[in-house]
């Protein structure tokens, strides 16, 4: 018999699987980009015809925005107003995450309790809270707080704690003049302490004698805190360092920034392509690349060059502003970076107004931390009002915080319950056999194992909580969305504000998922 291997035929282009695949992808990509370009150009035309042009000048110019609460209620620029909004959002989100975790865990465990009545309470809580929209609940808490007694002229004075329909006021400890320099001491102490603790642990492993790593660590942090309390002014020189960086950045020609971005894009795509080639390198030689692989490489290269070119194009854009003058995007980037270092410089110089710019009512002074009590004062027209000397929980904050915390706690409870139930029954039996009591084995055996199952969905809930704080808009809580909305109304700069929102929320989402992923990986390592 003879084996006839025919000549390698050429596949026609319209039947070549690889070509078809990439043709379809590029067609869809082109169609989507076309629709997008159409919408954007239409929007720009429409805005131009109504005399609005987008820019970023509002970030550095006064917008006339007044806020009801935050680190600065009459911000002098759009950027500062946004910063206030961001801090307010983070305030609710972070404190809410902690509170919801604790409450949710307790309810989740109660849901598994053998105690009938405790179990039922937890069930009713979950089924009620979970099935009612969060916004309804937020409005309800707001409506409830408004029915509290009003402040009158008789209430003027200082208090440790005060309740009224203007909110709740507590005495508290606040950052003072030397806050940031002092914090540097504590942070340095923390890392030194960690290093010492590791050495002590090694010592313990080598010699078998107790190392007391944790005690050393704690002691060093405490010591550096105490030293920093008195020595913080010594760090004043940092002010000059940051000041120098600021003037250096200000002195750079704007074109430097597009160059940096373009270089990063090119280097990034080259790096990716190099790695890709490396992964395709075979012992038998180089170049076992499928057509698909070539398309990938070409796509990566083209993307890198496109981003680089775009950096220059966009960087050169002159944005006309509300005030009428123009600034290029590159200049704007320079201003933002410069301002950041300027802020650090001022903070280390002890210029407290830039750290916690206080209102007309009070300036915090003294050391790194100060104790302060709330007071009720009469404002201009004789209206009683909380002075911002204590921790004031306003009605909007109360409504949004209570709402998101209780709501998220219900979901966290279900996650905790599921996680605990997912731990094999044998673990409980083994723990009981060893004589652990219920509280002990829950804490020592079950919860640590459940934690691993719980963590990923828990991260999702944290994300949801953080995003749900945006409902503060509905009760006039000055979070990032509400502040942006106000700026939009004052300046008409809707597109830039939307970009800021997206940037903020996407950054926050990525941060939270990065933290969760970090712990998740750590857990996985422990498991092995």
């Amino acid at each position: 018999m003879t084996v006839q291997v025919r000549e390698h035929q050429k596949t026609p282009l319209w039947r070549n699987a690889t070509v078809l695949k990439w043709a379809a992808q590029l067609f869809v990509l082109g169609a989507i980009l076309a629709v997008f370009a159409l919408l954007v150009s239409q929007a720009l035309t429409n805005f131009a015809s109504s005399d609005i042009s987008f820019g970023w000048q509002w970030l550095s110019s006064p917008t006339g925005v007044q806020l009801r609460e935050g680190i600065d209620v009459v911000p002098d620029s759009g950027a500062r107003a946004l910063l206030v909004g961001i801090v307010n959002t983070l305030r609710v989100a972070i404190s809410g995450i902690f509170a919801a975790t604790i409450l949710g865990t307790l309810i989740g465990i109660s849901r598994l309790s053998k105690n009938w009545i405790v179990n039922k309470i937890a069930t009713v809580y979950i089924e009620t809270i979970r099935n009612i929209p969060l916004l309804v609940q937020i409005f309800f808490w707001s409506a409830l707080a408004v029915t509290l007694p009003a402040l009158t002229a008789d209430d003027v004075g200082e208090y440790f704690f005060k309740v009224s329909n203007k909110g709740f006021a507590f005495a508290g400890i606040f950052p003072g003049l030397g806050w940031l320099p002092w914090l540097m001491f504590v942070i340095v102490g923390f890392f030194v302490g960690r290093y010492v603790a590791k050495r002590r642990k090694k010592y313990q492993e080598d010699t078998g004698k107790p190392g007391h790593g944790g005690r050393y660590w704690f002691g060093i942090v405490l010591l550096s805190g105490i030293i920093g309390w008195f020595a913080w002014p010594l760090l004043g020189f940092m002010s000059h360092v940051f000041g120098a960086i600021e003037s250096f950045v200000d002195g750079l020609p704007p074109v430097v920034f597009p160059i940096i971005i373009a270089l990063a894009a090119i280097v990034g795509s080259m790096w990716w392509i190099r790695n890709f080639f490396e992964s395709r390198r075979t012992p038998a030689g180089f170049g076992k690349m499928t057509d698909d692989d070539w398309f990938r490489v070409i796509f990566a290269g083209v993307s890198g060059v496109t981003v680089a070119v775009l950096a220059f194009v966009v960087g050169g854009f002159s944005l006309e502003t509300v005030a009428g003058d123009t600034q290029s995007v590159a200049e704007l980037i320079r201003t933002v970076i410069g301002n950041f270092f300027g802020w650090l410089s001022a903070a280390f110089a002890g210029d407290v107004s830039t750290i916690v710019a206080e209102t007309q009512m009070r300036v915090r002074e003294g050391g790194p931390l100060v104790f302060s009590k709330p007071a009720v004062v009469l404002l201009g027209a004789g209206i009683p009002q909380y002075a911002r000397t204590g921790l004031v929980i306003t009605v909007p904050f109360f409504a949004i915080w209570t709402g998101v915390t209780l709501y998220t706690a219900a979901f966290i409870a279900e996650i905790v319950r599921g996680g605990i139930l997912a731990v094999p029954k044998g673990q409980t039996e083994a723990a009981q056999a060893m004589g652990f009591r219920r509280g002990q084995y829950l804490r020592l055996i079950i919860l640590p194992q459940a934690f691993r199952i719980i963590l990923p969905p828990m991260g999702n809930q944290y994300l949801n909580l953080a995003k749900n704080t945006s409902l503060g808009l509905a009760v006039a809580y000055a979070d990032i969305v509400a502040v942006g909305f106000t700026i939009m109304n004052q300046t008409g700069q809707s597109l830039p504000v939307v970009v800021v929102w997206m940037a903020f929320f996407v950054t926050m989402s990525l941060t939270i998922s990065a933290i969760v992923n970090y712990y998740n990986r750590k857990m996985m390592l422990v498991e092995r």
Binding site: V3, V5, T11, R15, R281, T282, D291
Partner: protein, 255 residues
């Protein structure tokens, strides 16, 4: 290699699967290092070899579940390239049976069998069902037609999988370790079906560890190691008088 090793009355036809110097890489791992072989119509070829030797990759290249990177594969006169038309044609002419059965769990046994004839071969539903029932009959499990795969034993599932492939009326059947996931008592029922199939004149390429099956049914045995065919020959020749050291070592370990 010659035709003298025929063990049955089957008359071998023309070459139907031709592979010429086939090479395949997974990343930087070369799974096939130039495999050249020819399978003729109605021939039964058994491929044996240690795990990771490339034998599964080889038969998966024949119906292009994996794309080879160098060399030529010609199945029934059609060369396997990234021409979508050729791939479609070959897939419907080459049946494949998997180690893990891979039945569709959301469809009944009969629907598993009739799906492809209906939508690929464009058979009317009634005709497809009639043929499906006939095949189940042939496999000895007509009463399971309306059950779901999850309700069947492993051996029954594998027989359904064979019926599902046969429903496409393939000219070549590939078996990728069809009995490896089965309990010992079920292996026989599947092997019996395969023997019947071989006797009916189907062209079969079988990757298996069942040496009994190889001795009894195969026209030819190929031994794969490190991505190449180390040795091939008739079963008698192969099991009684292996030439190569690696073949001897392998046979001494499994027999």
């Amino acid at each position: 290699m010659s035709d003298n090793g025929q063990t049955s009355e089957r008359i071998l036809g023309d070459p139907i699967v031709i592979t010429e110097d086939v090479k395949k890489w997974f990343g930087d791992f070369q799974a096939l290092k130039g495999v050249t072989a020819t399978v003729r119509e109605r021939e039964v070829v058994v491929i044996i070899g240690p795990s990771g030797s490339g034998k599964s990759t080889y038969i998966r290249c024949i119906n292009r579940l994996e794309a080879h990177q160098e060399g030529t594969i010609i199945v029934d006169g059609t060369e396997l390239t990234n021409d979508i038309k050729n791939v479609e044609k070959i897939r419907s002419e080459v049946g494949m049976v998997f180690q893990q059965f891979n039945l569709f769990p959301h469809l009944t046994v009969l629907d598993n069998i009739t799906l492809a004839p209906q939508w690929v071969r464009k058979r009317p539903k009634a005709e497809a069902e009639e043929m499906g029932m006939a095949l189940l009959e042939q496999m000895g499990i007509p009463e399971q037609a309306s059950k779901y795969p999850g309700q069947l034993s492993g051996g029954q599932q594998q027989r359904v999988a064979i019926a599902r492939s046969l429903a496409m009326e393939p000219r070549i059947m590939l078996f990728d370790e069809p009995t490896s996931a089965l309990d010992p008592e079920m292996i026989k029922e599947v092997l019996d079906v395969m023997k019947d199939l071989a006797a009916s004149g189907m062209t079969m390429i079988v990757v298996t560890h069942e040496m009994g099956f190889a001795k009894e049914v195969a026209d030819r045995v190929m031994f794969f190691d490190y991505g190449t065919i180390v040795e091939e020959g008739t079963p008698e020749h192969f099991f009684t008088n292996p030439q190569h050291d690696r073949t001897k070592l392998f046979l001494s370990q499994i027999l």
